[in-house]
């Protein structure tokens, strides 16, 4: 569907050029509007799509501006009106008149109206805060942990790093990979069944943006402590406090950073 817009823009430019040469301002006007519309819609190829309201505003402005432009000189304005006049009034143009004025335009008007009045059945969409603000401290199996600004305690134990990473790998592949993926890309074999989809850990926009304490907090509490803005009722993230020891939770945190080559954000 998207690929049709550059085609519309291109066709508009061609019509505009040809009609400018042939001194047919009405078709030139149609061509310019087509090129404008196709161009604005094609923005989506290299930037976020323009909102419908913005496009509507630009188009409305163009419709009036170009009418003014074509009506500056009387001679040109007469030429501009000629096609409309002929179709409407000229008795020899009966067939195009019936086609355009009595079939094409009414059908178009009816169709647009139908689109406006037909009730749209779309389930309520919810904006969702993916990474809500964590509390300053949490309890893990009854033990109070200050998670704000905390570094993974296992990182101090440099000699045992490899052991911890390997242990974290085991925890990951027995608890997490079903959803977050064998390759930590969020495409686990159960990922399709959940909404929201599980987050990937690869790439620079999830755990790379988060301090380690936050990741630990999300593992520990899962869906249970999410604020309403993060739709806890939809989240399939378990509260791993009940399933893993504190050390295991830190080990798997370490593993997901090591395995993806990401670094935790420092506070």
């Amino acid at each position: 569907m998207l690929t049709i817009y550059p085609v519309i823009a291109g066709a508009g430019i061609i019509i505009s050029i040809i009609s400018a040469k042939k001194k047919a301002p009405f078709y030139n006007y149609i061509g310019i509007l087509m090129a404008m519309y196709g161009g604005l819609k094609s923005v989506e190829f290299f930037a976020p799509p323009l909102p419908g309201q913005v496009i509507l505003m630009y188009m409305a402005m163009s419709v009036f501006t170009f009418i003014i432009y074509f009506s500056i000189r009387e001679e040109q304005f007469q030429a501009f009106l000629r096609p409309m006049r002929t179709v409407l009034a000229d008795d020899s143009k009966r067939i195009p008149r019936i086609l355009i004025m009595y079939i094409l335009l009414p059908v178009l008007a009816g169709f647009i109206t139908y689109g406006k009045v037909m009730p749209k059945l779309a389930p309520p969409a919810t904006a969702r805060i993916v990474h809500p603000e964590p509390p300053a401290s949490i309890t893990y199996r009854g033990k109070s942990i200050n998670i704000l600004g905390i570094e993974n305690p296992l990182r101090k134990d440099e000699a045992a790093m490899a052991v911890h990473i390997e242990a974290g790998k085991k925890v990951y592949y027995q608890n997490c990979f079903y959803c977050h993926g064998d390759d930590l890309d969020g495409n686990g074999h159960f990922a399709d069944a959940f909404n929201p989809r599980p987050l990937p850990f690869r790439g620079t926009d999830t755990i790379a943006q988060l301090p380690e304490g936050f990741v630990f907090y999300r593992i520990a509490k899962g869906w249970t402590t999410l604020p309403a803005g993060s739709t806890p009722w939809d989240s399939s993230m378990p509260s791993f406090e009940h399933l893993l020891t504190e050390e295991e939770a830190w080990q798997v945190t370490l593993f997901i950073y090591e395995a993806t080559g990401n670094k935790p954000r420092k506070m």
Binding site: P106, M118, Y173, D182, N187
Partner: protein, 497 residues
């Protein structure tokens, strides 16, 4: 390089690093440089990204084996490979292992590994082969697959006859749902002694060796060594196998996912046996996951999909649930009964807020409609969170059920009055999106309580009859347009004269 891989393989096996490096360096001087680089890189990648399931020793006993995955990861030390382009009994070609690695195996925990270059994948394949060098001393001769003939009714009919003659139905079932009686037997096993289940040929997302017609041809030709799936390379001609492949392809259903189901209003709700009427009703497919949130968790759910349809009348709402089950179970033979559970919030909130998608929570109770194969009854429950004894059976039961199990397919029709007057029941109001989720149990695999396949929240909407303005305004706009044209034409004509 090490950083690309993520985990340093030397890192993961602490101790003796320096000594090992010196030995490797010495060995490297004796070998052609390329070969050495391959084997070493292959091991490093394998240890980092394959060993978690297939094991550091290649024995299929990685962390995610045992109860964590089904089917089990391949044991590379046995040298038996299911997915090949070689005759039965011969080892796979390198391309075959490359294909499984790069494309994965649908319906299993083996994902497509697309992050690695061809060269990297080949180095992994070399290393995998080294777990069983004896097998690969022989080189498998790949058969040619050629171009698939285009499907025709005649070809599919020929394929159907072969499906009959070759007794494919004995295991895969008459409708191809993997429910043949041979597959029910306790001695239906893989070489390693693990229980085997025939593929459900209607689920194109569960074909381990891929669902395209060329893939089916490849599977039929090679057979799956080490499993009850035999090779048909010598028993049926190439043309016969293509015909059979097209027939099998024609059994596949189209999965249609979506976030909401709309229910049309009808005068009477058709009976469950009225297949023709129900087939014309719009549906959505809900992909299912194991219940992984609360202990005991279900890592290896059996039912992967449930199809939902809905219709309503002035008085009643009905929901039809369909899913495949290779062996129905009524709770005999020491297994629990098959069951299905529909879940709705008791109260609809005006905002986005809902009960927790699995069994609700203390502030937001859910209304459950629970059908069991054991007594073929549906009962109403309430729950406010997953806890033992948190489920409360309602005294008054308003659900009517019609059930059917036929050729591998469960079809359960649940009906209830739109409103019951019970404050613990969901009230159905047209023109409202009502959250719905589903839990399914396969008794044969001992699923019960929290060991189940579950879905996320979806919505069902009882579609209101279209408002009058839909029929009035569009023609009005069209006529207004014609009127305006006539008016302008009149004016112009006047100007001219």
């Amino acid at each position: 390089m090490l950083h690309d891989i993520g985990i340093n393989a030397f890192h993961s096996k602490p101790g003796g690093n320096t000594v090992r490096k010196i030995v490797i360096l010495a060995l490297a001087m004796l070998l052609p440089a390329g070969a050495f680089a391959d084997a070493n890189k292959g091991k490093m990648l394998y240890d980092a990204w394959c060993a978690q399931c297939h094991g550091y020793e290649g024995d299929g006993k990685g962390y995610a084996s045992g109860n964590y995955t089904l089917p089990q990861p391949r044991d590379f030390t046995k040298g038996t490979y299911k997915f090949r382009t070689t005759p039965s009994g011969e080892p796979p070609t390198d391309e075959d292992i490359v294909r499984s690695t790069q494309k994965g195996n649908p319906g299993t925990s083996m994902p497509p590994w697309t992050r690695f270059s061809d060269e990297e994948v080949r180095s992994i394949v070399e290393y995998i082969k080294s777990f069983d060098e004896e097998t690969f001393e022989l080189q498998g001769k790949a058969f040619q697959i050629g171009k698939a003939p285009s499907p025709s009714d005649a070809l599919i009919k020929q394929g159907m006859e072969i499906f009959e003659k070759a007794k494919c139905w004995e295991c895969h079932g008459r409708a191809g749902r993997g429910n043949g009686e041979k597959g029910w037997q306790s001695d239906f096993k893989n070489d390693g002694g693990t229980r085997a289940w025939p593929t459900d040929l209607t689920h194109n997302w569960e074909y381990r060796n891929f669902p395209a017609v060329e893939d089916i041809y490849r599977s039929i030709t090679s057979g799956f060594d080490g499993t009850p799936m035999a090779s048909f390379q010598t028993s049926y001609s190439e043309q016969d196998r293509w015909a059979l492949s097209h027939y099998v392809k024609s059994l596949q259903v189209t999965r249609k996912t979506g976030s909401a189901l709309t229910a049309k209003k009808v005068d009477t709700i058709p009976a469950v046996s009225d297949k023709k009427q129900w087939e014309a009703v719009a549906y959505i497919d809900l992909p299912l996951s194991g219940q992984l949130i609360f202990e005991p968790r279900q890592f290896i759910p059996v039912v992967t999909n449930i199809r939902v349809r809905s219709l309503y009348t002035d008085a009643e709402v009905s929901i039809l649930l369909e899913w495949t089950d290779k062996r129905p179970n009524k709770g005999s033979d020491g297994h629990p009964a098959d069951a299905v559970r529909l879940q709705f919030p008791v109260q609809l909130s005006s905002g986005a807020e809902k009960p927790y998608f699995y069994l609700g929570d203390s502030a937001h109770p859910v209304n459950l409609w629970y059908w069991r194969a054991s007594d073929d009854q549906a009962v109403e429950f309430n729950a406010s969170g997953q806890k033992e004894n948190a489920m409360v059976t309602q005294e008054q039961n308003n659900i009517r059920v019609e059930s059917e199990y036929s050729d591998g397919l469960y079809r359960i029709l649940l009906r209830r009055p739109l409103a019951t007057g019970d404050k613990n029941d969901i009230t159905f109001v047209p023109d409202t999106f009502i959250p719905l989720s589903v839990t399914v149990y396969d008794g044969e695999h001992d699923e019960q309580a929290d060991r189940a396949a579950i879905s996320a929240w979806y919505h069902v909407m009882l579609e209101p009859p279209a408002p009058l303005k839909v029929y009035v305004l569009p023609p009005a706009a069209a006529f207004a347009c014609i009127g305006a044209s006539l008016f302008i034409r009149k004016k112009l004509k006047k100007l001219k004269t």
